[in-house]
């Protein structure tokens, strides 16, 4: 049995990793995650243009305005009052000119821009509000700053995170991991189904079952698929690590703008971000629930695939089950916001839902250890039952041709 399993495992593994769909999915996946890592760089570059501005006005006024705007803009030039034209913007390599005036203590700003839609007037007004107050009240900048400063603190009731920004960042990471989990489980389970369907429709199944125990055949397929999913995950992680390193170095290089470099430090998908928020417990939970989810879902897919006659039938037969998996993803997504809502907690124990939902809960909340243990126990027992049931269906289904069996017939097989 072990030898049979090993033989099927090796052959299936090699067949799959050398297959065109696998190579395409690996390459596209790696490109996609790399693109994700480069997003901060691309975003920063895309927005670097509008952040270059020229300040125009009385030099004394500009000297006081400059620190207030420097946080959001790169001030390329400070010019005396003058008429602004497109040519003058081009001459100073800026996308817009901020013309500041103060009349009777009233501060006013006129902005000349190539693309007015890129100007956030509200944010600029808030930035310059202290200057307006200085002018109106004739108070020193430090006095104004002291008067206008409102200390705001957020106290989280979720002991998992120290503050709101950490919680938000963790939720972002958890969402990415959940998506990752979902894709790995669904893609690889469907590939198991396709492989079984191929053997059924090509009629090679009978030769295989005559040679070895169907359980060894099924187990070899499912475990090889799990190994392939892990390989896929490793490839994607390697792509993230490599591309994040390249992106970080590009952002920090002389070619990268200061604003972009600053923004990169807070990007969720930077290396430091991943390291901070993917704690060992989240990593272990991800791995465990990936394994359980993959085994549960791919075993069911294998059972369904054994019942079909043509590969086209596969989507019809598996559709009801696909809805369950998609529902699990959406509940898990909801769980990121309300990890302790009653329906979320219940879902985190239910087979097929738990791998997604319990993982989400663990990623964003402190889930009691007994709940995690109970969920694992229920799902491992369920996995055993699923394997027995799918094995029975597979053993019969692989030899069954003609009209797909009715639900009652499948239930009969399961009862046998």
């Amino acid at each position: 049995m072990i030898n049979d399993f090993a033989t099927v495992f090796v052959v299936e593994f090699i067949r799959r990793v050398t297959s065109r769909p696998f190579i395409i999915s690996i390459v596209i996946g790696m490109l996609a995650v790399s693109l994700f890592s480069f997003m901060p760089l691309l975003v920063s570059q895309a927005f670097s243009g509008p952040s270059n501005i020229a300040l125009v006005g009385d030099p004394h006024l500009l000297a006081r305005a400059k620190p207030l705007l420097a946080h959001d803009y790169t001030i390329q030039a400070e010019l005396p009052p003058q008429t602004i034209t497109a040519a003058s913007l081009k001459a100073h390599h800026v996308s817009s000119a901020f013309v500041l005036t103060a009349t009777n203590g009233r501060l006013a700003l006129a902005i000349y821009a190539h693309d007015p839609s890129s100007i956030d007037t509200g944010a600029i007004a808030r930035s310059l509000a202290p200057l307006a107050l200085q002018n109106a009240l004739h108070r020193s900048p430090s006095e104004i700053s002291a008067l206008s400063a409102v200390p705001v603190t957020v106290k989280t009731l979720n002991a998992k995170f120290a503050n709101a920004s950490d919680a938000m960042a963790a939720r972002g990471i958890a969402y990415a991991l959940l998506l990752f989990l979902y894709m790995l489980i669904l893609i690889n389970s469907q590939l198991v189904g396709t492989s079984v369907a191929e053997e059924k429709t090509s009629r090679i199944a009978e030769s295989l079952i005559a040679a070895i125990d169907p359980a060894a055949l099924l187990a070899g397929k499912i475990i090889s698929s799990t190994a392939i999913a892990l390989l896929q995950m490793a490839a994607w992680i390697a792509a993230i690590v490599a591309s994040s390193a390249v992106a970080a170095s590009a952002l920090g290089s002389p070619g990268g703008s200061d604003a972009a470099a600053a923004s990169s430090s807070t990007m969720l998908f930077s290396l430091s971000g991943i390291g901070t928020f993917i704690t060992p417990e989240i990593a272990v939970a991800f791995f465990l629930f990936l394994l359980i989810g993959l085994l549960q879902v791919s075993t069911v897919y294998a059972g369904f695939a054994s019942l079909i006659n043509t590969t086209e039938d596969m989507s019809n037969v598996a559709r009801p089950f696909l809805i369950v998996v998609v529902a699990a993803f959406f509940i898990a997504f909801t769980a990121l916001g309300v990890p302790n809502a009653p329906f979320v907690v219940i879902s985190s124990f239910v087979p097929f839902l738990a791998p997604f939902v319990m993982f989400s809960r663990i990623a964003v909340a402190n889930v009691p250890l007994w709940q995690v243990g109970l969920s694992l126990a229920i799902n491992l027992i369920a996995l055993y039952a699923i394997a027995i049931g799918a094995g029975k269906v597979y053993r019969v289904g692989m030899l069954m041709y003609g009209r797909p069996p009715k639900l009652a017939q499948v239930l009969n097989v399961l009862r046998s």
């Binding site: 052959v11 067949r15 009629r203 090679i204 030769s207 005559a210 040679a211 030899l399 017939q409």
Partner: protein, 305 residues
């Protein structure tokens, strides 16, 4: 007589829901024997084969191998070419044969050598490293034969091995099966090409509607046949008179230039020949034994053509 019975199929029965695929099938196959399992479509041949291979479990009766129930270890020593052919289209010919060898417990380098031998024997050398999907149907079938036999099985079950093969490849397979037979492999063959089975098999069981209808060697089946066909030439009307004297004789629609009569098997053919010669000159006298085809049709209850 110290004959070892290798395979016993003992009153096996198999039902699928309300459909009874096999009601009561019994036969025994000796070590090294080539056995023909015959029957019309839906007779239960494939189900019986699947029960022998352990793919299906009998609802009643038993299948025994050397006196004991068939174990997974026994199944490793079986080979099977199912009627429904299947192949991994994208897998190379050599890899496919090696894979099946490994599934039957073979290890490298032995499995590689055996695969190479089969590729050579089946004249598949030029296709060895090509995907199976690029092969013709006949060559794919030869690959499947190699997959079924690469591990040197003690028992090789072949369900319709000749279907879809051209005469050259059919002859090649017959030669290979004879080699396997000579090397001591026990063969179970099921085919609708009766003449090929007549050539290969030493014993037969004919089943229909899931139960035994006839069994034995070809000689035994023939000896149990109640009539013989006597063919006489020329087609001289005077030669009909001696047949009229044979109790139970009846004229058949013969071919041009001959007279065909069905007579009881117990007929004294020497006396009949003398009577014919006394009536008219006889250039041909032949007491034709029933063919396997006729015995088969009779056993399954089909009218003669």
């Amino acid at each position: 007589m110290n004959e070892r019975r290798m395979l016993e199929v003992d009153h096996v029965r198999k039902e699928f829901g309300t459909v009874r695929a096999v009601s009561d099938v019994t036969f025994r196959i000796d070590d090294g024997e080539t056995f023909g399992l015959l029957g019309p479509n839906g007779a239960g041949k494939t189900t019986t084969m699947r029960m022998i291979l352990g793919i299906l479990t009998p609802d009643g009766g038993a299948v025994r191998w050397n006196g004991a129930h068939v174990t997974p270890e026994d199944r490793r020593r079986f080979g099977y070419l199912p009627e429904e052919r299947g192949i991994y289209g994208k897998m190379k010919v050599r890899d496919q044969i090696v894979y099946f060898g490994k599934l039957h417990g073979m290890k490298e380098p032995e499995v590689g050598k055996r695969a190479a031998w089969w590729i050579e024997r089946l004249s598949l050398g030029v296709y060895a490293d090509r995907p199976c999907s690029e092969l013709s149907k006949g060559n794919q079938q030869k690959v499947q034969v190699a997959c079924a036999a690469v591990h040197g099985p003690q028992l090789l079950i072949l369900d319709e091995p000749f279907s879809g093969l051209d005469p050259v490849n059919a002859d090649l397979l017959i030669a290979i099966f004879n080699e396997l037979k000579a090397s001591g492999t026990t063969l179970i063959l099921s085919s609708h090409q009766m003449w090929q089975l007549e050539e290969l098999c030493t014993r037969f069981t004919i089943i229909a509607a899931g139960e035994n209808r006839a069994a034995g060697t070809l000689a035994q089946l023939r000896s149990a046949w109640p009539t013989r066909v006597v063919r006489v030439a020329p087609a001289d009307e005077a030669l009909r008179a001696p047949f009229a004297a044979v109790s139970g004789a009846r004229a058949l629609a013969g071919i041009d230039g001959v007279l065909d009569y069905e007579v009881p098997a117990s007929t004294d053919f020497a006396t009949l020949l003398r009577s014919l010669v006394n009536v008219a000159p006889v250039t041909r006298f032949e007491a034709i034994e029933p063919s396997l085809h006729e015995i088969y049709l009779h056993a399954i209850g089909e009218p003669k053509a």
